[in-house]
Amino acid sequence: MDPIWQILVNGVGLGAVYGLVAVGIQLIIGVSGVPNFANGQFYMLGGYVLFLILGFVGIGYFPSLFLCILILAGIGAIAERISIRPLMERPRSAGLISTLALGMFIEGLILILFTAEPKTINTPYSGIILSIGDVSLSVQRIIMAVGGVGAFVLADFFVRKTKVGKGLRAMSQNKQACRIFGIDIFKMSRIAFMLGVALAAFAAGLVVPLFALSPFMGSFIIFKAFAVVIIAGIGEIRGVMFAALLVGLTESLASFYIDPLFRDVTAFLFMICVLLIRPQGIFGEKSDLLFAK
């Protein structure tokens, strides 16, 4: 029997994973114009911080997740000060290389501290499996999907309705004008980076109980997340959710009906098609932030 519903549920789950990592990238790239290639490693770091909190503090899953997000936000503030702020007046390539180096540093540090031996995080929800007809999924995956939607809604509300969020949007449009109007661009950059990293930590906290923890888990997902960002359009948070869902569903369908190896190619083929037809992304505006000064 064709397990189409399971395939679709798998796709939604995949999309939620990519979207959670991508929304943090979108916030940072939208504000500072710098593609944060270290976001995958911050996602991985969030997993390890959660692992340590669960193992040594013993305050339960959700309080541990909250603490993990706060810790990573703090780390994000420090990382922004070191790797993004000094290069704000430089060409974007400098920030790109800086975040690449930052990512390698984080990965290397975790490898030294924890070795490459994979670890697992179990929550009270990862072992509870629900079966509805032919569809099976864990409560943890439902939490992940709900958390993902919640993160998108909150991030979108923050960017569109709050004063700080409007400042972030202003910065993404014109930094010079922001300076003239007295908006502290360094503060905005720090806030965006902290939020982006915090979202990566939130993603890890929801997702890692479904996978295994290793120093290399961020390297693979970052490229998928960037594909989602490009498909959505640079700076478009609303578009990220839709694009992530599209990518997840396409991968799930391709894996079943074509070949599992084809799955990982799908996101990038999709990205190329979108770029050929609509270079600014599905939801993007024609001004391409990546190439604007």
Binding site: N10, I221, P260
Partner: protein
Amino acid sequence: MPGNWTNPKVIAAMIVVVLLIGFGTGYLTATYTIQPTSSKQPISIGLVLGLSGRYSYGAQQALSGARMAIQEINDGGGVLGRPLELIAEDDRGVVADTVSGANKLIDVNGVHYLLSTGASGGTLAIMPIALEKKVVLLNFMTSSPAITNQSGIGGNPWTFTLCPDEFAYARAFASLVNTSEIPANSFSFLAYDMAWGRDACAAYVQYIEAAGGTITSTNFYDPASTEFTTILTKIKAENPGGIITMTTTESLLIILKQANELGITLPVYNRAVGLGPALIASGGNLTEGLYGMDPWYAVVNTTANTEFLQKFKLFSGTVPEQYWPWSAYETIHALGEAIQKAGSDDAEAVRTALTTIDMPSATGGSIKFDEHNAAHNYVFIAKIRNQQVTIVTQGPG
């Protein structure tokens, strides 16, 4: 201040930091040399392995196994009165780096004996180098049948394999198909998309079909992938009697989790992930009933194996998670015996001597090379029952 990069003090400070980081990491990570304390000219042995990177935990244990053997031999007076020296190169699990590491060990460090890396693709890549430069290559970890096919009378007399190849594991597994231990006779494969994964799959398909079994599908995945629900959904729909995996430890843990999530209760027969305490601790109840196929397990009940485990724990402070440290340990001892038998460290003489050795292995088998320079030690099929590893069967390697 941001942007003040023309300040000479800032530039000088950056140069110092970069140099410190570069020299520091280079000193700590790139080349590991375990040098003897004797004043006599040491006999150098090279080792190329993924000492950093994805496979580094097992590789570091393999390095410890090799070092332990070197120390034992040197404490006993060395070989031909000379100490052994181990020079290790880190290839990070990348085949291109395996080749450059092997060339460096041979051309720069002047080694005549080389222990191969952790990936079959890497071993296959450096076999022509061993042939061209007349260096004894000892394959102690990788199991692609292509390696043994090409060795000895297969064309490369300089490569020796001390671990069983995939045909040996496949034979042992197929002998259990349609029995009470493995009542299933249809299987789906889930293997990572590298030379070893594909070769291993092909070997198992051949023997399972010869034993009357059927293959419902062979599924390959990118080694870096962390999401298996899509492949597992496909496998579940095929309804095989079992799943045979050829994966890394990380992937296997994820597969077990996600298979459980999808309601898959099929038995999992894993090739290559050691059934060690770390796997059981990480996987918990999900590892119950998991099979493994390897040439060594800690529970293999021989006096020599018990002694090896005790010595390794004292030496490294860790417990072996898989067969790599044991294999490295026995390979160094086999090489030492061959050099002693040859009466010199001339590579050609040692190569000839290797073809004549017959030494016991800690698992109860023996290290004795056939016409393809393959030593047929035992293979074991094991299973986790009540969080303990138990041996199901053993077969010829």
